[in-house]
């Protein structure tokens, strides 16, 4: 009996999942996939590649060869962990910061550079053709995920839509509306909030009065779980469980991956204006790459020589992609009319010709 003798008619709980402590030691028995050393190493490699890609992208931006860019520094475990639990036929709906998930799914590094370099051709993924492009208007991809999930359910396809967004996005009606609908129809959708503590300068405590973001799923009628988003094993385990359940017809899930954005919001931001450097330094102790490396090294699955070789490989792969990106010939301006409609309406052909002529002249 609660206060005033009124009966309690419902109670809810939110679980938190973590396996690897910041020093790489284990908190609880690892999930089954973790006995696959090759898989763990591939997660590690993907995170290191992402960090090295990020570093290069920032350098390109600083030297005027790339546009505004959003780094994943400190939160590499989320997009890599989530994507690694997906099948290729599932559909990813990423936000602008989810380069790691795209790379895992086979999008070429030079395609990602083209996008951030201001060229729409970067969105023409040669890999997963049904995946969505990066979503810039925050949270507006969540309703798409519900629509995608509905299509899968209607056609009885065993596929799952996986939608990634930030903590700030959970304040938007779009996200709640999508979750609500997915809950009503038990859609095969996994919603993932990367809670990196910041929406540009706005800290989580000004974003929500909730103790967790995971509990937002409760109002939509499904399970919300919190995971340590700097522990790639936990992220992958939660994603795998949620995706398997969704594929199995059990409906949507919500994962809140708690992590920390160690870098600026984007290359246009200066985080030192709104958060003290000491806080950031303290968070470096929890970052996902060193954590998994410590674990792998402790298990004799990773050596210093492996690390050096990986660094060299990443460097080579990133540099080669940058070369291909920089060598991509510019498009004629009239191509801005391409893909505007299936068939360009006759009235706009004149405008297209005008642009083409200008280029010749």
């Amino acid at each position: 009996m609660a206060d005033g003798g009124l009966p309690v008619i419902a109670r809810f709980e939110v679980r938190h999942r973590n396996y690897l402590a910041p020093d790489g030691s284990i908190n609880r028995p690892l999930p089954a996939f973790a006995s696959d050393a090759k898989l763990l190493v591939s997660l590690y490699r993907a995170m290191v590649l992402l960090r090295s890609f990020d570093r290069k992208a920032v350098a390109l931006q600083r030297t005027g060869r790339l546009g505004t860019y959003a780094v994943s520094l400190g939160q590499e475990a989320v997009s890599v962990g989530i994507a690694s639990a997906m099948r290729s036929e599932d559909v990813l709906l990423p936000s602008y910061r989810d380069n790691g998930a795209l790379i895992w799914r086979g999008v070429k590094l030079e395609e990602i550079l083209l996008f951030w370099g201001g060229d729409e051709r970067g969105n023409h993924f040669s890999g997963p053709v049904q995946d969505f492009p990066f979503c810039v208007p925050v949270g507006s991809q969540a309703p798409h995920a519900a629509g995608v999930g509905y299509a899968f359910k209607l056609r009885k396809e065993p596929r799952v839509a996986v939608c990634l967004f930030g903590d700030g996005a959970t304040s938007k009606g779009d996200v709640y509306e999508a979750m609500n609908f997915a809950g009503v129809h038990k859609l095969p959708v996994v919603f993932v909030a990367t809670n990196n503590q910041w929406a540009i300068s706005v800290p989580l405590r000004l974003q929500t009065g909730c103790e967790t973001l995971a509990q937002k799923a409760i109002a939509a009628g499904f399970i919300g779980e919190q995971v340590d988003g700097s522990d790639v094993v936990a992220v992958r385990a939660a994603a795998e469980e949620a995706i398997v359940a969704a594929r199995d017809g059990q409906g949507p899930r919500f994962i809140e991956a708690v992590t920390y954005r160690l870098g600026d919001h984007t290359t246009s931001d200066d985080a030192s204006r709104y958060r003290p450097e000491e806080d950031v330094q303290a968070r470096w102790k929890e970052e996902p790459i060193a954590r998994l490396r410590a674990f792998l090294a402790g298990q004799k699955m990773w050596s210093k020589a492996d690390e050096e070789q990986l660094a060299a490989e990443c460097h080579e792969r990133v540099e080669a992609a940058v070369e291909r990106y920089l060598a991509t010939e510019p498009r004629g301006p009239e191509t801005m009319f391409d893909h505007l409609y299936a068939d360009l309406p006759e009235v706009y052909v004149a405008q297209r010709n005008e642009l083409a002529r200008e280029e010749d002249g």
């Binding site: 810039v136 208007p137 700030g168 996005a169 009606g173 801005m336 009319f337 505007l340 200008e358």
Partner: protein
């Protein structure tokens, strides 16, 4: 008098309005400690406190809806939307509530709010950051839509917008936020709304524009002057309701009109002005009204963005053609 950038002029106007009227408050994403992504609200939270300079959750519909609620209670909220591409969730609130609450309640409730947002392309920003869909807003009855084109007009028009008893959408030309500099006296004096500014007098052709495009338009007028063509340049400044008198009298004087906007052509605000001249200024026309606009495409990302924007050359060519028409 201090030389300031356009965005600094906005900061000055906001500070002045808050100083003068304790009911004025600012709200939006990152407007507090961070001072806004363009620094328009820099230093204001420190000066006026977090209750009056409010970092909201990331929710544009909420920002606009909060403004409506606050405004009905006699506050003067100034909401900030980080880019025009993120203003669209506010349309529901603007169309269905802000713009018509006075009318719906026959004056019992009113909505003296301002919604500020950067406007336009040309800053090499990511997708959805380059919108110039002012025509959509200008279509809404009961709203005011204002676009300054210089620091001086940014200061004066923003003060006027905040003091106005009705809702105003204040579109800030992103491309010249820092590029435009000018002397602004922080004297608290507003400029009139609903009035166009004649930036340059001329007898041969009228060039009409607003916001950042006035930069190219003025440059085109300079180029034309060298050739002996005297262009009159009109800064429309308020698009809703717009100053029909100034438009018509300028065209009556010159007989020729070129309208310049970076928004896409079809259904752009240029069409409205051309229609006005066709209806009420036809007799004075010596040449067809011309439009120099963005193309009917999505604003391309950085690599092709410049090709989308009207250039000085495009404007001058259109003006020359108008002058040669016979």
């Amino acid at each position: 008098m201090a030389e300031v950038t356009l965005v600094e002029a906005i900061n000055l106007a906001l500070a002045r309005a808050m100083e003068d009227d304790p009911g004025v408050l600012l709200l939006g994403e990152d407007v507090g400690l961070n001072g806004g992504v363009f620094r328009a609200t820099a230093g204001l939270q420190k000066r006026f406190g977090a209750e009056r300079v409010l970092d909201t959750p990331l929710a544009e519909l909420l920002i606009s809806g909060l403004c409506v609620g606050m405004a009905t209670q006699g506050l003067k909220p100034v909401g900030e939307i980080q880019f025009m591409g993120f203003l669209y969730p506010c349309i529901d609130q603007l169309v269905n509530h802000a713009s018509r609450i006075r009318n719906r309640t026959q004056g019992r409730l009113t909505c003296p709010m301002v919604l500020r947002t950067p406007h336009g392309a040309g800053i090499r920003a990511p997708e959805h950051h380059s919108e110039s869909t002012e025509a959509m807003l200008a279509h809404i009855p009961g709203l005011r839509v204002v676009i300054p084109s210089s620091p001086e007009r940014a200061y004066g028009l923003l003060l006027a917008a905040i003091r106005d008893p009705d809702p105003v959408v204040f579109l800030e030309p992103t491309r010249i936020y820092r590029a435009a500099k000018g002397e602004v006296e922080d004297n608290g004096e507003a400029l009139p709304l609903d009035v166009a500014f004649v930036l340059r007098e001329g007898r041969d052709v009228t060039l009409i524009s607003w916001g950042a495009m006035l930069k190219e338009t003025m440059a085109a007028a300079d180029a034309l002057a060298v050739e002996g063509i005297a262009a009159e340049v009109v800064d429309l400044a308020t698009l809703k309701p717009y100053d029909e008198v100034t438009v018509l009298s300028s065209v009556a004087k010159t007989g020729r009109c070129v309208i310049v906007h970076e928004a896409t052509r079809t259904g752009g605000f240029g069409a409205e002005i051309a229609a006005l001249i066709a209806e009420r200024g036809l007799a004075s026309l010596l040449a067809p009204v011309a439009r120099v606009t963005g193309y009917d495409t999505v604003v391309p990302m950085a690599r092709l963005e410049q090709k989308f924007m009207p250039s000085v050359g495009h404007i001058a060519t259109a003006a020359r053609q108008a002058c040669q028409f016979s």
